[in-house]
């Protein structure tokens, strides 16, 4: 192509351009006009996927800070999937809930741009900016239903804590810069590999503060407190989007920073991360048990999933890295599908996201109930679904790194998590609908189609994971 610097940016550019196009369309649409603006996004994401495919194995670097390596491209693929599913689910929900469509899609796309940027950046400063792009977009998306007090409240909590934590993150960058003299990961890495960690407390501060910043974004305990509130307050589909996209991007950057630049010191930082991972898995699952709101329950569940991903990070070997990638994909598809289903079941005046709203769903909407069940089983890690392979991969990473205890915590908490996933199943299949609850809503066809696609992917990843596993393993060969 015309400029190797730009090559690496093409996926991002595609999405950015369509985001701008969406905004433009919004600006010029009539007041009551309904335009299928989601298509812009799908086009952009398609372009991103295509360009990413063309960039595969080329390892081009853009402006020294963006690298289209396989790792980044794999994450880009995941993000494309997340974005596409989100847009497909949103298409009806947006109009149903009276969300300003143009801004909504633009923000979704911009945040995807931020996510891709974060996943492919090799400069701490760019990572920070990308983080802010995606965060600001997601804060706004959380509160996009301004008439909803919960939405705004969730958005504000998310925003305030996000700003707070990004200050810590930034402080970490400052120390990294101070010690290594650069924010480029490559430079930091080569500087650090010549050091012994315990010599310089500034590096320790840098590691700790960066860890806090990432831990916040992936909602690891004890930096998770915003998660349930933000997830509950946001519209279901936004929750689906941010519980997956943000986590994917944050984990990609986390992995890149900690398993490349800071890898020489993994023996030093890993034990603490292991404890954080354990705490995250335990708290996420245990507190999930008592929840009665489905979104909140899944919020805790996604905290726990963050813990599983951390296990892969702790393992800090090639299996672990590949496992993170695979798990991210499996988790994203599954979780997004679950939230998509929740979103589809809502109505303008009721979110229908309490557990009791799902009672007897099997009788009224059997197909939706079945698809939802598959999502839940996949989240619970039961074969033959994607979630099972993902967990298996993660735990094999832990085992191969000798972290047996972490793997044991992981499997036991996933048993507990099955309990609350099954509560939903119990509601759908084994309970009768309470009198007085509104009847079932009609579910738009496109939403069902998206759900079906997601389920197909869950099964594909669960039964024939070889190809994707191979891609994931290939992706981690070059991580810079």
């Amino acid at each position: 192509m015309f400029n190797t610097d730009l090559d690496a940016l093409i996926p991002m550019l595609c999405v950015t351009l369509t985001a701008l196009a969406t905004l433009g369309t919004e600006a010029f649409r009539g007041r009551a006009e309904r335009l299928p603006m989601g298509w812009w996004g799908l086009i952009g994401l398609g372009g991103a996927a295509l360009s990413a495919a063309l960039l595969w194995n080329r390892n081009v670097v853009g402006y020294g800070v963006i690298v289209a390596d396989n790792f980044g491209l794999f994450v880009t693929f995941i993000l494309v999937v997340v974005g596409a599913l989100t847009i497909m689910f949103s298409s009806q929900v947006v109009y149903r809930d009276g969300i300003p469509a143009g801004e909504y899609y633009a923000l979704v796309l911009f945040s995807i741009v931020g996510m891709i940027m974060m996943a492919t950046a090799t400069d701490l400063l760019v990572i920070f900016i990308a983080l802010e792009i995606l965060s600001l977009a997601v804060y706004v998306l959380t509160g996009v239903r301004r008439e909803s007090a919960k939405g705004i409240e969730g958005a504000f909590k998310y925003f305030l804590l996000g700003a707070f934590s990004s200050a810590f993150f930034l402080y970490g960058i400052a120390f990294t810069y101070g010690v290594a003299g650069s924010t480029r990961l490559e430079a930091v890495g080569s500087f650090l590999s010549a050091q012994a960690l315990s010599d310089n407390p500034m590096i320790l501060l840098a590691v700790g503060l960066l860890l806090v910043g990432f831990a916040f974004k992936i909602s690891a305990v004890p930096f998770h407190m915003w998660t349930p509130d933000a997830y509950e307050g946001a519209p279901a589909i936004v929750t689906g989007f941010m519980s997956t996209g943000v986590k994917v991007a944050a984990f990609a950057a986390f992995t890149r920073v900690f398993l490349s630049a800071f890898e020489p010191f993994s023996g030093d930082w890993a034990p603490l991360v292991a404890w954080v991972a354990a705490a995250t898995m335990i708290l996420g699952t245990v507190v999930g048990v008592a929840q009665t709101n489905l979104k909140r329950m899944l919020a805790y569940s996604s905290i726990a999933h963050g813990g599983y991903l951390l296990v892969g990070l702790v393992a800090a070997n090639s299996v672990g890295k590949a496992a993170i990638l695979f798990y991210l994909l499996a988790y994203s598809v599954t979780n997004l599908a679950a939230f998509g289903a929740i979103a589809l079941l809502g109505s303008r005046d009721r979110d229908n996201d309490e557990l009791r709203d799902y009672a007897g769903l099997w009788n009224t909407r059997p197909a939706l109930a079945a698809l939802m069940t598959v999502c839940l089983l996949s989240l619970g890690g039961l074969p033959p679904t994607a979630g099972f392979i993902g967990k298996w991969y993660i735990f094999s990473a832990a085992v191969s790194a000798g972290y047996y205890w972490l793997a044991i915590v992981g499997v036991l908490t996933s048993v507990v998590s099955v309990f609350f996933y099954l509560r939903v199943v119990v509601m759908m299949y084994m309970a009768d609908r309470e009198a007085g609850l509104p009847g079932p809503v009609t579910v738009p066809g496109l939403g069902m189609a998206a759900l079906t696609v997601a389920i197909a992917m869950i099964f594909y990843l669960g039964v024939l994971p070889t190809q994707v596993l191979d891609f994931a393993a290939e992706s981690i060969a070059t991580i810079f």
Binding site: L125, F128, I129, E132, L136, Y139, V140, G143, R146, A149, K150, I152, E153, G154, A155, F156, K157, F159, L160, A163, F164, S166, A167, L170, Y171, I173, A174, F175, Y177, G178, G181, S182, T183, P228, D229, E232, G233, A290
Partner: protein
């Protein structure tokens, strides 16, 4: 010449004041200001390090941080306005309908 760690300690104190502000104040706007203090503390660190290292990266990063701070302030204030519309209050404790 003033040793580097003087600056760093000042910025550390500033940073800590910012964090404390998040806890001590029961006004959303002041809390937002506290976050601004934290960001400025980081800026001071950057500039100090940049001066110590003798390159301009530190200063440049400061510009980006300012931009980010501006963007955050815009969104944050918009959120505060939206919040205020719902419940005529700026006390963070007033917004606890999402919990447990």
């Amino acid at each position: 010449m003033i040793p580097l760690h003087h600056y760093l300690i000042v910025s550390a104190v500033l940073f800590a004041i910012g964090t404390a502000g998040v806890f001590l104040r029961r006004n959303l706007i002041t809390i937002l200001l506290s976050v601004e203090i934290m960001l400025n503390a980081v800026n001071l660190t950057f500039v100090a390090f940049g001066r110590y290292r003798g390159d301009v990266d530190g200063q440049i990063i400061t510009f980006f941080v300012m931009t980010v701070a501006a963007a955050e302030a815009a969104v944050g204030l918009a959120l505060i306005i939206a919040l205020f519309r719902h419940r005529e209050s700026l006390n963070p404790d007033a917004f606890t309908s999402l919990k447990w």
